[in-house]
């Protein structure tokens, strides 16, 4: 069959050349504009969630000094902070933002396969965010059930936001899932069907592998959240009893009977654990590409990296109940889930070794994206190791619901992915905007953020060992908490405020660079993958001008001996440049 690129076949791709301001920047069907829309919305809500965490820290560090933080408010802050960060910031930013921007560019396509559905996806996402934020302003305020929304307390009288907040939260989640599904179908189909000539699956950069696999996980796991949201809405509105047991609520017998809160936990974590990898896998992929580019070296063990991504994806569905050891379960179940949890550490550790080995004897350029990527290796190893503690039933039981858990998940899926987000933004900023960022500001941003987050979360492990419980509005003066623990809490709060303020540097950098940044060339890092080879920077609508690129090699031909440059773009044919193996370079 003669080769015809999918994007060149008129009947499969809808024409949507933008001609007015509105079709170009607002109702745009261009994947790059949609990516930026996704990212801006996600970063906007992320900032709100950051603000909420500062309020929480103010209360914890200086108990009762701030009269506007009531216990009700505190729980609302905890809940909204968690939910926004995990779903509306990280999931949306990695898949809707980077997924949209990178998949077509890295695969050599002109756009997503279904641009109209892609546009719907971002607007439905915005709708979900609006519904979520509206819950701040309804009577009773947003829900304060904790981000896991466990029944019965999520819909029992006495919990903040029980009238409207919880309903808006569940509705917003359902709407978000619709938005994600529309985007997800696009990402999967585009990766499978719209790559350019010569781009075999195994020549794709790891970023695409990570985003692709995370999308598959999302498509299969988000229904679990949808199921639990629908059933909880019904328990709340029509008084069915899927999850709600018979209970005395605020001294009154509720009309619910016999429901099972543990059923909700199973459904929630059946989504919740894959969700960790929905956030982590794109981060794994992106960090691999940033490390290889700035170390001028091919990624160590590319095939192993791909298989590890797939193995983690598969395993992530059979570990969920390790979040429920304290909910009570058959000991054999606990044994099973502890075992699977330890097994999933194997491919994950393999990836970490490969990142470190990629740096080994590389020609490391400590530019800002690289700093963030190396910072990620530190925080991820750190959070990963404490995960092995918590994956074991006997260790988890005493540590459950303490600050040790807070420290663990913030290191592994808070700080680590956010460092990758920054690495990615700095790495692709020159391509997205055509301008260079300010290197000095970027370094300040990195070091303050990296050291600052360590000084927030490292002490929390110690608090956890002491037995300081998480989610408490005020600790009081229990005998197990020495004075040092109280002053530690104050110190953590100070660090948190510094880290939060540091992010201003990032925005100053972005705005300053957009206005007066040095013009970036098409390929400032000397990278090999296709997005750096577009005829225009930033890439125009359609990405590739008249002809789609053709790929002749993988994305990691860095420092190949016998070639004048230390990188060979993916489009350079085999007869024009050697490949790594020809010269005995070990892979």
């Amino acid at each position: 069959m003669a080769y015809v690129a999918i994007a060149d076949r008129d009947h499969e791709i809808e024409h949507h050349d933008p001609d007015t301001f509105i079709t170009k920047y607002i109702w745009s069907q261009d994947h790059k504009v949609i990516a930026i829309q996704y990212s801006l919305i996600a970063i906007f809500v992320g900032l709100i969630a950051l603000g909420l965490s500062v309020m929480m820290r103010l209360q914890l560090g200086f108990p009762n000094d701030f009269s506007f933080i009531t216990p009700e408010h505190y729980y609302q802050f905890v809940t909204m902070h968690g939910m926004i960060m995990v779903i509306y910031l990280l999931t949306a930013l990695f898949l809707g933002g980077f997924g949209n921007y990178l998949i077509p560019l890295m695969c050599g396509s002109r756009d997503m396969v279904f641009p109209y559905m892609n546009m719907l996806s971002v607007w439905v996402y915005l709708l979900s965010v609006i519904i979520l934020l509206a819950s701040f302003f309804v009577p009773g305020g947003s829900t304060g059930a904790g981000w896991t929304l466990y029944p019965p307390q999520a819909i029992a009288a006495g919990t903040p936001g029980v009238d409207w907040g919880i309903l808006l939260m569940l509705l917003s989640l359902a709407v978000f899932i619709v938005a994600f599904t529309m985007g997800g179908l696009n990402y999967v189909t585009t990766v499978l069907q719209a790559r350019c000539k010569g781009m075999t699956l195994m020549r794709m950069p790891l970023s695409v592998w990570g985003i692709f696999t995370a999308t598959v996980l999302g498509l299969l796991a988000f229904p679990a959240l949808l199921v639990s949201a629908i059933m909880m809405i019904l328990d709340k509105t029509v008084m069915s009893s899927f999850f709600m047991p018979a209970a005395l609520i605020a001294g009154e017998q509720s009309s619910h009977t016999g429901g099972s809160p543990v059923l909700f936990q199973h459904l929630f974590w059946f989504f919740g654990h894959p969700e960790v990898y929905i956030v982590a896998l794109p981060a794994f992929g992106i960090v691999s590409d940033v490390l290889a580019t700035h170390a001028r070296k091919n990624i160590f063990g590319y095939r192993m990296m791909v298989w590890a991504i797939l193995a983690i994806g598969g395993l992530s569905f059979i570990v969920w109940a390790h979040h429920m050891y304290v909910s009570g379960m058959n000991p054999y179940f606990g044994f099973f889930f502890a075992t699977t949890t330890l097994i999933i550490a194997v491919p994950t550790a393999l990836k970490v070794y490969n990142w470190v080995l990629t740096l080994w004897q590389g020609n490391i350029h400590l530019r800002v994206p690289m700093l963030f990527a190396i910072g990620f290796i530190f925080t991820f190893i750190h959070g990963g190791l404490t995960g092995i503690f918590l994956g074991n039933v006997v260790v988890d039981l005493p540590l459950s619901d303490t600050y040790f858990v807070v420290a663990h998940f913030h290191m592994v899926m808070g700080v680590s992915p956010v460092l990758v987000v920054f690495a990615a933004i700095y790495h692709w900023f020159p391509k997205i905007t055509g301008k260079m960022f300010d290197e000095r500001l970027g370094r300040w941003h990195f070091w303050l953020t990296f050291l600052g987050t360590y000084s927030i979360y490292l002490p929390m492990h110690y608090l956890g060992f002491l037995g300081v419980p998480r989610r408490y509005f005020a600790m009081g003066d229990p005998s197990f908490m020495p004075e040092s623990a109280h002053s530690l809490n104050t110190a953590i709060t100070v660090s948190a405020i510094i880290v939060a303020m540091t992010q201003i540097l990032f925005f100053v950098n972005i705005i300053k660079s957009l206005r007066s940044g040095e013009k970036a060339g098409p390929n400032p890092w000397g990278a090999t993958s296709l997005e750096w080879l577009t005829p225009d920077t930033p890439p125009k609508h359609g990405n590739w001008g008249h002809h789609l690129p053709e790929v002749h090699r993988w994305a990691y031909d860095y420092s190949v001996p016998g070639y004048p440059d230390d990188f060979i773009p993916q489009t350079v044919p085999a007869d024009k440049a050697p490949s790594g193996r020809d010269h005995g370079v070990k892979h």
């Binding site: 690129a5 050599g108 396969v113 429901g259 095939r303 031909d557």
Partner: protein, 220 residues
């Protein structure tokens, strides 16, 4: 959760098995003329077919999770089984007929028999709407006899499962309406063929889901 796990194991085995097959014997760092000639389409089928297949996997995940929840909730003390209205047998028949009608319409569209399209689409849609109407009647009957959502979890699950299935059918009817309007305004068989083919797959799928759900409801 066993049901969901079995389903997921199957889907993951398919996806990962297929991906591994693509990746096992490759050495991407080596120059390869064979790889250079690869078209960048992994599957020789229309993108919309892939999107629908992926969506069916998502929907299956959703239904499998509902069924898992059903089987877990079923074992709690307050569960009292619901006697399904006989109406459901008729409805099942209607949905089978809708599926058959859609299959015949599809065959006609593939064979470019223009004259078959209008009656074919009309009959498929009619049976489907009758099915939905029948489901609503079944609801009404249950409601009239005092089977409320609040009175028992078995009732609540009945309303929930049928509603979710019905909503999926409504989504299908939206696409059906679009191709029907196209055909009525004089579109050629060729221009609606893909849409009709995909709808046929979707209708068969929803019939299958309904048979599974109905079987589950009857047997418990």
């Amino acid at each position: 959760m066993t049901i969901t796990l079995i389903f997921l194991a199957a889907i993951m085995a398919t996806v990962i098995g297929w991906l591994l097959k693509q990746t096992l014997n490759t050495q991407p760092w080596m120059a390869s003329a064979a790889d250079d000639a690869v078209s960048g389409r992994s599957l020789d089928t229309h993108s919309k077919t892939i999107a629908l297949t992926t969506f069916l996997a998502v929907a299956t995940s959703l239904f499998a999770l509902f069924i898992s929840a059903y089987t877990m909730r079923m074992h709690m003390a307050d569960w009292s089984p619901l006697t399904e209205p006989n109406m459901l047998w008729i409805n099942t028949g209607l949905l089978v007929l809708a599926s058959i009608a859609y299959q015949l319409t599809r065959n006609a569209a593939v064979a470019a028999k223009q004259s078959f399209l209008k009656p074919g689409l009309a009959i498929s849609g009619l049976f489907t709407l009758l099915f939905l109407g029948g489901q609503l009647l079944a609801w009404q009957g249950l409601y009239a006899s005092g089977h409320y959502m609040t009175s028992n979890p078995a009732n609540a699950f009945f309303y929930l499962l049928t509603a979710v299935h019905g909503l999926h059918i409504l989504g299908g009817l939206y696409v059906w309406a679009r191709s029907t309007i196209k055909v009525w305004t004089g579109a050629e068989a060729d221009s609606v063929r893909l849409s009709i083919e995909l709808c046929t797959v979707y209708w068969h799928y929803l019939l299958l889901v309904w048979l599974v759900l109905f079987g589950l409801l009857l047997s418990t």
